[in-house]
């Protein structure tokens, strides 16, 4: 098996998690917060997929998040792709379970900070959010993303690893 379609199978396997996060956002709509996990879900695949597959996977995850939200095209996807390439190139950064956890938290937080900033810049003229309020809101949103990543990375990672095992991808060869 050449595993050419591995990234797509992984995407299908990951999508329910994203959907779950959307549902959570929907039922917690009064909070006015987005339950964002798209950053966390790219970490595990990056350990085992080939780089081009990583890129496709990360881009798709990013575009899925953007597709139904009024944020500029590509803002999440391109950041995710950049981070995916980086993690894929320095696999030693995610060599152990605890490293994966740190990476998931960091990546999820960074991507959140990115889209929050871009969304703010885009709607700044219309909304009455000033800089201080923005900092407060961004902190809330980033913290939530970090917490979500910390809580969910373990089950997500287990599920994704299971799918990759099933496809027959080689186990991560991480030698620092």
């Amino acid at each position: 098996m050449t595993h050419r379609g591995a990234w797509f199978l992984l995407l299908l396997a990951t999508y329910p998690w994203l959907l779950g996060a959307d549902l959570l956002s929907s039922s917690m709509a009064t909070w006015g917060l987005s339950f964002f996990i798209s950053g966390a879900v790219i970490v595990t695949p990056c350990r085992r997929l080939k780089r081009w597959q990583c890129v496709l996977f990360a881009a798709s995850i990013g575009f899925l998040y953007e597709a139904m939200r009024p944020i500029p095209d590509g803002s999440v996807a391109l950041v995710l792709v950049f981070l995916a390439i980086y993690v894929n190139s320095y696999r030693s950064l995610v060599r152990s379970a605890s490293h994966v956890l740190y990476a998931a938290i960091t990546i999820n937080a960074v991507v959140t900070l990115t889209w929050v900033t871009i969304a703010h810049l885009q709607c700044a003229p219309a909304s009455s959010v000033d800089t201080f309020t923005f900092l407060y809101l961004a902190t809330l949103q980033v913290s939530l993303s970090a917490i979500l990543a910390a809580l969910l990375i373990s089950p997500i990672s287990t599920a994704q690893n299971w799918v990759m095992d099933a496809i027959g991808l080689p186990v991560a060869d991480i030698t620092a």
Binding site: Y15, L19, D22, L23, S25, S26, A29, T30, W31, G32, L33, S34, R51, V55, S60, F63, L64, E66, A67, M68, R69, P70, I71, D73, G74, L78, V81, F82, I85, Y86, N88, S89, Y90, R91, S92, V116, A119, H120, Q122, C123, A126, S127, S128, V129, T133, Y136, L137, L140, Q141, T175, A176
Partner: protein
């Protein structure tokens, strides 16, 4: 490992090239990309919504006969009352049509109503929207007003094949005109969403209130649609004014905060009012028009 890092440099270069290409790509491509990913998600969302309906159905199935009988009795009473009301409404409608005919006044009530279920709500400090289970296939068009009863919910922003995204009143991209209670003769004010801080209820902002306006004392000031903009029918309730009507920094005008009339996270079903004829704004924004979308981005 070395090989991997070598390749990484090339990947970054490739990424940089891609970003450059992305920025320069025609908007049609980006729109297509976005649309493709939205359509990818749509079936899952629909499935979700339908399964929720199914769950509700089975929940209802489990009710006792007693409950159903009393519910049906209540309903028939309400039905009778409504029928009576409908009768008088019909008379008024005919009278209205006749008067409009006499005055050669354009009829503003030419809307097709499409009822749609809400799939999910997506709110943040920067956007406030819901996704509904009707789309292009059902004749939904962007810009159409979305209402619940006589309350304004928002406006359709993007339409997909079978689902649509609706910008709520509180969304920063939402804007409409309104009249305020107690303003005689009524003067136009501007309503625009301002989302709000997370963990606090979202609000809209009313601006361009004439500086000699003061709200009627001791009453809740209602904000209603004007019906002049060719989008919203007249007299729908948008919300109520919260707090004081205060002068703007330049003091030439006043502004106020508005609470939307409907608690938006409780709504399961909405009506989309689709104008019979496309509005000029719609024609202007349609991609087939020679006007390109990016002129507005």
């Amino acid at each position: 490992m070395e090989k991997n890092r070598q390749g990484a440099k090339a990947s970054y270069v490739a990424l940089a090239v891609f970003i450059a290409a992305w920025v320069m790509l025609p908007s049609a491509f980006r729109r297509f990309n976005r649309e493709a990913f939205a359509e990818f998600q749509a079936p899952a969302l629909q499935l979700l919504s339908k399964s929720r309906d199914l769950a509700r159905y089975w929940e209802l199935r489990s009710r006792s006969d007693e409950e159903l009988i009393s519910a049906s009795r209540d309903l028939s009473r309400i039905n009778a009352a409504l029928e009576l009301k409908l009768q008088s409404t019909d008379d008024i409608r005919r009278e209205n049509a006749r008067l409009r005919e006499m005055l050669r006044y354009p009829s503003s009530s030419e809307y097709l109503t499409v009822v749609a279920r809400v799939i999910s709500r997506d709110t943040s400090s920067w956007w406030q929207r819901i996704i509904i289970r009707k789309g292009r296939n059902d004749g939904i068009r962007p810009g159409a007003p979305v209402v619940f009863g006589n309350h304004v919910i928002g406006r359709v922003s993007i339409v997909h094949q079978n689902v649509s995204e609706v910008d709520l009143i509180t969304s920063p991209s939402f804007r409409c005109t309104a009249f305020l209670d107690g303003d005689v003769p009524p003067r136009i004010v501007h309503v625009g969403g301002m989302a709000g801080n997370s963990l606090s209820a979202p609000r809209a902002k009313i601006t361009v209130i004439p500086n000699d306006y003061s709200p009627p004392a001791g009453e809740v000031t209602k904000v209603v649609t004007t019906g002049l903009g060719g989008v919203f029918p007249a007299g729908l309730i948008i919300g109520t004014i919260e707090g004081d009507v205060l002068p703007t920094p330049e003091a030439r005008l006043k502004e106020a905060t508005m609470v939307p009339s409907k608690v938006l996270d409780r709504i399961d079903e909405v009506s989309v009012l689709i104008p019979k004829y496309p509005t000029p704004g719609e024609i202007l924004m349609s991609p087939t028009e020679f006007l390109k979308l990016e002129e507005f981005k």
